[in-house]
């Protein structure tokens, strides 16, 4: 089951450049939260702080509190353990090219030392089914490489790979920006189903997408969170002038 996310006083830097300023945000369990804003506004940096991926960039630094459910992400837990509980889907599909479809999905389990073959078979099938890919690939999951699939299938494979480790939170960093409208539609449908079991945070440039999949939306600008509210409110009656300007296409 998903857990809620609480963020307090989050600041992040790349070298001496501050990318995030005092972010404060509560995300509800088993809901989808969309983050919108112009390029470079810090929304990707923000979700990379949630699973401590930000600090893998040389020179990057984070301060503040992030609570994933009861767990303090920046205190008393190693980044690798934290990331096993938080799945991440990236902008460009990035399946492991040397691995079969099966091995791609099982990668998180295998590489973390799990090797119960029978259970692994079930987990792989279940994960591929949850990412709506099982029917399309079930005949050749051992024979074909993950890289041989189409872009949209690769992205769903990456979602299956993230789900296989049974995370509580799923972070999606512009998961559809490299995909065509049909694949995008499939992934959006998927987000709809997945949010019954996972807490989803999705960064998107596509405001219609935010409106379609998310209950809550946050608007980022220049490293600050300008407004966070129910999606409906953000898109129909935003409180902040800058949000209104952005969603009506006056800038950004």
């Amino acid at each position: 089951m998903g857990v809620g996310i609480q963020v307090e006083n989050l600041n992040a830097w790349y070298g001496s450049t501050q990318a995030l300023h005092d972010i404060r945000l509560n995300m509800e369990a088993n809901h989808a939260t969309a983050l919108i804003g112009p390029s470079g506004c810090g929304k990707s940096t923000f979700i990379r702080c949630l699973n401590r991926m930000h600090e893998t960039t040389p020179g990057a630094r984070v301060e503040g509190n992030v609570k994933i459910g009861q767990l303090d992400a920046y205190d008393g837990i190693s980044p690798t353990l934290l990331r096993r509980r938080i799945g991440m889907v990236f902008q460009k599909p990035n399946p492991f090219p040397t691995m079969s479809i099966y091995d791609n999905v099982a990668a998180g389990l295998k590489l973390n030392g799990y090797n119960n073959r029978k259970e692994m078979d079930q987990i792989v099938e279940r994960s591929l089914a949850s990412s709506a890919l099982w029917d399309e690939v079930k005949d050749f999951i051992h024979k074909k490489s993950g890289a041989s699939l189409s872009g949209g299938q690769q992205q769903r494979l990456c979602i299956a790979r993230a789900l296989a480790v049974e995370p509580e939170v799923l972070l999606m960093d512009e998961p559809c920006s490299a995909l065509d409208p049909i694949s995008t539609g499939k992934i959006e449908e998927l987000i709809f189903q997945l949010k019954t079991q996972y807490t989803i945070v999705i960064v998107t440039h596509n405001m219609q997408q935010a409106a379609r999949v998310a209950e809550y939306t946050g608007f980022f600008l220049l490293g600050r969170m300008v407004e966070f509210d129910k999606t409906e409110k953000i898109f129909t009656n935003p409180s902040d002038k800058r949000t209104e300007d952005y969603i009506t296409g006056r800038f950004g």
Binding site: N94, P97, A107, L111
Partner: protein, 290 residues
């Protein structure tokens, strides 16, 4: 004013000519590159194939004047010495390459890179002297081990730099995908980065292997050569390049013929080793992999 249509025709004619010239140039450079290779191989076959027979492949050298004899001990010795060289050189080279690509973005990494490039340019005879000083003098014996050590030192810089280059080609997105699954960094490096770059790394290893397989100079005062069978690591050992060298500068026609045969066998062995490794690697990877 020329008619625009003729002008267009002229351009396309000129373009066609340059197009053909460029193609011709590309083809002739390929021929230029391949010609010596084919010529050498053909010449070796012509000169050497007549002397390759069962006794050449199974017997040790006979004293001068006696007919027959072969290079079996030299073939075995080469296999032994190259085995030692690979066992010593490949892990060190790959390890250093991994360090440079994954952890070496600092001054120490830069100095390792510099030293490695310098080592690549050191004449092989100098490396032979180093192995002589480090191994032979201490053991008080010429030995297969010393020969292997000399060749290993020659393999390391090539393997290090190609491994580094190949690992750097692996997209950062794959590393992030692994980190995102909670895979520790060491495991990501070995199971994702190195595995994705396997075929490139193997190419570097085979390049280094093929290069040192034919080396004579570093073996002169390390492995030294031996007219008899030897399987002991701490004893003087025959090697094909040494045997070829000895036979080629001898005054006997029979030995000259055997030197040609030895050279042919050496090339065949190198090609076979490279092909075998390639085949094994291809067998281990999936169809459709990028």
């Amino acid at each position: 004013m020329p008619n625009p249509e003729t002008k267009q025709l002229e351009i396309s004619l000129w373009r066609r000519i340059t197009d053909h010239l460029a193609t011709l140039f590309a083809i002739s450079t390929v021929v230029l590159v391949l010609a010596p290779l084919i010529a050498i191989f053909a010449y070796l076959v012509i000169k050497g194939v007549g002397s390759i027979n069962l006794s050449f492949l199974t017997q040790t050298p006979k004293p001068p004047g006696e007919a027959g004899g072969g290079m079996a001990n030299a073939i075995a010795g080469s296999v032994l010495i190259l085995g030692i060289a690979s066992l010593l050189g490949v892990p060190v080279g790959i390890g250093a390459g991994i360090y440079l690509s994954e952890f070496g973005r600092n001054r120490f990494g830069d100095s390792v890179r510099f030293v490695s490039d310098v080592l690549n340019g050191v004449p092989s005879i100098v490396i032979g002297i180093v192995a002589y000083a480090l191994v032979v003098l201490r053991q008080k014996h010429f030995s297969a081990l010393a020969g292997g050590a000399a060749l290993a030192i020659m393999m390391i810089p090539t393997i290090t730099r190609t491994t580094e280059e190949m690992l750097l080609l692996v997209p950062g997105a794959l590393r992030e995908a692994a980190y995102g699954l909670g895979v520790p960094r060491w495991r990501t490096t070995l199971s994702i980065v190195l595995r994705t770059a396997t075929s490139g790394v193997i190419t570097g290893v085979m390049l280094a292997f093929a290069r040192v397989a034919g080396e004579t100079a570093p073996l002169l005062f390390t492995a030294f050569g031996n007219q008899f069978w030897n399987w002991k690591l701490d004893q003087p050992t025959a090697a094909l390049p040494l045997q070829i060298f000895t036979y080629a500068i001898s005054p006997y026609d029979d030995w000259h013929r055997q030197a040609w045969a030895g050279a042919l066998v050496l090339i065949i062995l190198i090609v076979a080793a490279v092909a075998a490794v390639r085949l094994a690697v291809r067998h281990g990877t999936l169809g459709g992999a990028a």
